[in-house]
């Protein structure tokens, strides 16, 4: 059985020392080993951004796509090979700005993949512009007078879009984060995991200390029931999204793949793709 070390490769990440993404990478590697995957059974698909480089740092199949499109690539991959374990990942700009349309629809669609967002409330790779996740008033290169748009609330969006699994983690809380990703990987359907992953270079507001001070664990909320969507929404709204843990999980709804009529139970990559002469003639006759 593979250990988390088997998910390491020899590529040295080009992230800044102290970047939150290091721990997210480690958590994914541990979670993958903990749920019993072999490296070749896993594919990590990522977008563009500092965070997007993650697919190149994990010893597994990796696909570093284009900005904002990790999710459609990952969903296509999963549809092609339903036996493959697929993780999509990227930054908050990737998933909530340019890729927001895909994020909402991937959540709705509920294909069985796990999506890990490295949310640093800023654009790292392009050197410090505002993100949809930046708080109002946040000063960046592109908002010298402070951001005037309110920040996007990913957990609320996910809950209203019909998510079957919503979790949030914090990159230094590696144990909790690993457990969340494991739970996501084991979830039958689309699992959405937002991770606070501080950008030490461009975000001097939402720092490690800031998160430590402001985050609450759902486990610490008395009587919290993660299968109760209404309660989840209420807790998210009350905490202004500063919660960690499994916020909501619906274990009853089946995944997209289970619902597609006629969809092969073995991976499409393994089926015989040629039409028989009989099938061919039948189609021909339908046009006559």
């Amino acid at each position: 059985m593979a250990t988390f070390k088997d998910f390491r490769n020899d590529v040295k990440p080009n992230w800044c020392p102290g970047c939150g993404d290091f721990s997210v990478q480690a958590a994914i590697q541990r979670a993958a080993a903990n749920v019993g995957y072999e490296p070749n059974e896993l594919a990590v698909v990522s977008g563009i951004g500092c965070s997007g480089r993650i697919s190149g740092y994990i010893n597994s199949y990796g696909f570093h796509g284009i900005h904002g499109r990790a999710l459609p690539i990952a969903q296509g991959l999963k549809m092609a090979n339903r036996d493959l374990k697929v993780i999509a990942s990227g930054g908050d700009g990737d998933g909530f700005a340019i890729g927001m349309g895909h994020t909402i629809h991937a959540i709705r669609r509920n294909i069985d993949i796990t999506y890990v967002v490295m949310d640093n409330q800023i654009y790292g790779l392009t050197k410090g512009q505002t993100s949809p996740r930046s708080a109002a008033g946040f000063v960046t290169k592109s908002t010298p007078g402070g951001a005037i748009e309110p920040s996007l609330k990913p957990l609320e969006v996910a809950l209203t879009a019909g998510a079957t699994f919503v979790a949030q983690g914090f990159s230094t809380e590696i144990k909790e984060l690993t457990a969340l990703i494991e739970a996501g990987l084991n979830h039958k359907g689309f699992s959405f995991i937002n991770v606070f992953s501080p950008c030490v270079t461009y975000n001097k507001v939402n720092t490690y200390d800031w998160f430590k001070e402001n985050l609450t664990k759902v486990a610490d909320i008395e009587g919290y029931d993660s299968s109760n969507r209404e309660q989840a929404m209420q807790a998210v709204m009350q905490s202004e999204g500063l919660l960690t843990g499994i916020i909501y999980q619906d274990t009853e709804t089946t995944s997209y793949q289970e619902k597609v009529s006629g969809y092969s139970e073995i991976p499409l990559t393994d089926i015989d793709i040629s039409l028989t002469e009989e099938q061919f003639d039948k189609l021909t006759k339908e046009f006559m």
Partner: protein, 576 residues
């Protein structure tokens, strides 16, 4: 007896005009006639003029006819918009309900028949189209039985009574017109057909059938005119073979999902028109850079922007050839007949996997939606070639697999995710042989050259459809996609008149078949490129690839309507 009949039915959209044309055409197809149908429609659902023009011949028909023999009108607009196509030998059959009048300069007689009234008396005015078909049948001297099967297929599930009523409507339509025109009944009788069974399909059916036969088992797409039928066909058929279709949130998702699925190892594709292709441009570059196979259908329609969404045009060519930033190898194929649409689709999937690059199959609205009779495709000619896919037994790489190995032909071994010993990285960033990012100058050159070298292995039979009877021609007519039939008819006329005319229809648009085209251009005194666009895109691409510029001119039409043979003949004559 006629050797060609041109029949048109028109009215307001949503009034059953389509089914009238469909029933008539299907019945004629079953008798063994050859057909070519072209629908005029607007981008609205109810209301707005629509018509369906069907050209019928006992022999092969390649294009829409210039004239009209019978015009069936369900409203005055149909007469006003279409009467100029009529000749003194033609006839208008119009619904008496709207008190039809023929314009003063209309050369054909008009007969008002109580289409709606007769149908209403039978129980529902919805059957007015059957009455009109009955009237048509009288003119053509067709027996009602000809329609029995079609009517049973369409209305059978509603019960025998409905079938019987519809057949009665046909009978009454016949009687009604016979009473009015007396001995002219049967004047439009067509020479008998061979009775052979042929398929009757639109180009979108042909490519969708091709995709299914080629082994495509996943499609991701977003609806758009005139491409949607491809997706709708796949939605019906893929579940029967284990596959699936996802209607995505947009075309960016469609193209990238198809890339993801191809990467996974299943033949996957998307289909759209200009606006969707514009959105896919970045994804096309990703496919080229990461060497993931991708097949895209572009059913061209009138641009730019939303343009003329339901009209014929061929103006995406440049965007397809030069679209996407940076430089990637890609292949663009432009079939011009149903057969080519089918077989070229299969080739597209083979090429995409063998050369690991994006292949765009370009069609146009006239080909995509025009409905034609076509001989059954040949099962034995369907060949699936998947290229250099490495099986699990063939690799035991301990380190990252060299997915982008620099090889002599530029094609690297491809391994599918899941395989042990196949782990590698894929990125749109410039990368080394293992797929890991690398900006080293030497590596950049090696990888760039490797990607382009793949095109040298492109095998494509008959990249140009050639009909060049003359060693020295007065004129070479050049086109692509659906202009083929009209050009062929022009060529026949001109040759009969002693103007030596050759014809080249470009089927592989990119890489441009320079050698084949050069040879043809050299043999001609004049080269006329016929295109449905305003800037002469094909001729510009030709000029970039080959010589003969001074003798090359264009005939361009960009009013949204297809070229008609006589119209094109006159335009060509003006040029020579």
């Amino acid at each position: 007896m006629l050797h060609q009949l041109s029949w048109k039915v028109g009215g307001q959209q949503g009034e059953g005009i389509e089914s009238t044309g469909e029933i008539f055409a299907t019945a004629m197809n079953r008798l063994g006639y050859h057909l070519y149908g072209y629908r005029h429609f607007s981008s609205r659902i109810k209301g707005g003029h629509t018509n369906n023009k069907i050209t019928v011949r006992p022999t092969e028909v390649r294009s829409i006819a210039d004239d009209l023999d019978i015009l069936v009108a369900f409203d005055q607009e149909t007469i006003d918009v279409n009467y100029k196509e009529l000749t003194p030998k033609s006839i208008i059959l119009a619904d008496a309900k709207f008190n039809p009048v023929a314009p003063e300069d209309c050369v054909a007689p008009l007969f008002a028949v109580g289409f709606t009234e007769i149908a209403a008396e039978l129980g529902t005015s919805l059957m007015k189209n059957m009455v009109a078909i009955g009237a048509t049948a009288a003119l053509l001297n067709l027996k009602e039985e000809v329609f029995q099967n079609v009517v049973t297929e369409i209305f059978g599930r509603k019960g025998e009574e409905v079938v019987a009523k519809n057949m009665e409507a046909i009978q009454l339509g016949r009687v009604a017109i016979a009473e009015q025109i007396g001995e002219r009944v049967g004047d439009w009788e067509l020479a008998p057909a061979d009775g052979k069974r042929r398929m009757f399909m639109i180009g979108n059916d042909a490519v969708a059938f091709g995709a299914l036969a080629a082994g495509a088992r996943f499609m991701a797409a977003y609806p758009i005119t005139p491409a949607s039928e491809i997706m709708e066909f796949m939605i019906k058929k893929l579940p029967l073979v284990g596959g699936a279709v996802i209607q995505t949130e947009d075309e960016i998702a469609a193209a990238t999902m198809a890339i993801g699925a191809n990467y996974g190892g299943v033949r996957s594709f998307t289909a759209s028109a200009g606006p969707g292709l514009s959105l896919m441009m970045e994804a096309i570059g990703l496919s080229g850079m990461t060497e993931q196979p991708l097949v895209i259908f572009d059913t061209q329609r009138g641009g730019p922007s939303t343009g003329l969404p339901t009209k014929q045009e061929q103006s995406d060519l440049m965007a397809m050839v030069y679209g996407t930033h940076g430089e990637i190898p890609k292949v663009i194929i432009a079939p011009s007949t149903m057969e080519e649409a089918f077989y070229d689709t299969i080739q597209a999937f083979n090429i995409a996997e063998e050369l690991q690059l994006p292949v765009i199959v370009l069609t146009d609205l006239q080909l995509a939606l025009g409905k034609q009779s076509v001989d059954p495709f040949d099962y034995s000619k369907v060949e699936i070639r998947r290229g250099k896919i490495v099986t699990p037994e063939e690799t035991d790489a301990k380190d990252y697999f060299k997915r982008y190995e620099v090889t002599e032909d530029g094609i690297s071994p491809r391994v599918l995710p899941g395989v042990k010993g196949g782990i590698h990285h894929v990125t749109g960033v410039e990368h080394n042989e293992q797929g890991k990012p690398s900006e080293a100058t030497g590596n950049r050159r090696d990888q760039m050259d490797k990607r382009f070298r793949k095109l040298n292995s492109l095998r494509f039979d008959n990249p140009v459809h050639v009909n060049a009877p003359h060693e020295e021609a007065d004129v070479l007519l050049v086109g692509f996609n659906s202009t083929r039939g009209a050009i062929e008819e022009v060529q026949e006329v001109l040759n009969a008149e002693g103007i030596k005319t050759n014809h080249a229809h470009v089927r592989l648009v990119f890489p441009f078949p320079a050698e084949e085209m050069s040879a043809l251009v050299d043999k001609a005194k004049k080269v006329i490129v016929v295109e449905n666009n305003a800037t002469g895109q094909l001729s510009n691409i030709m000029k970039m690839a080959i010589g003969g510029h001074a003798k090359t001119t264009n005939i361009l039409k960009y009013d949204g309507t297809p070229f008609l043979p006589r119209e094109l003949t006159n335009l060509v004559k003006e040029k020579i």
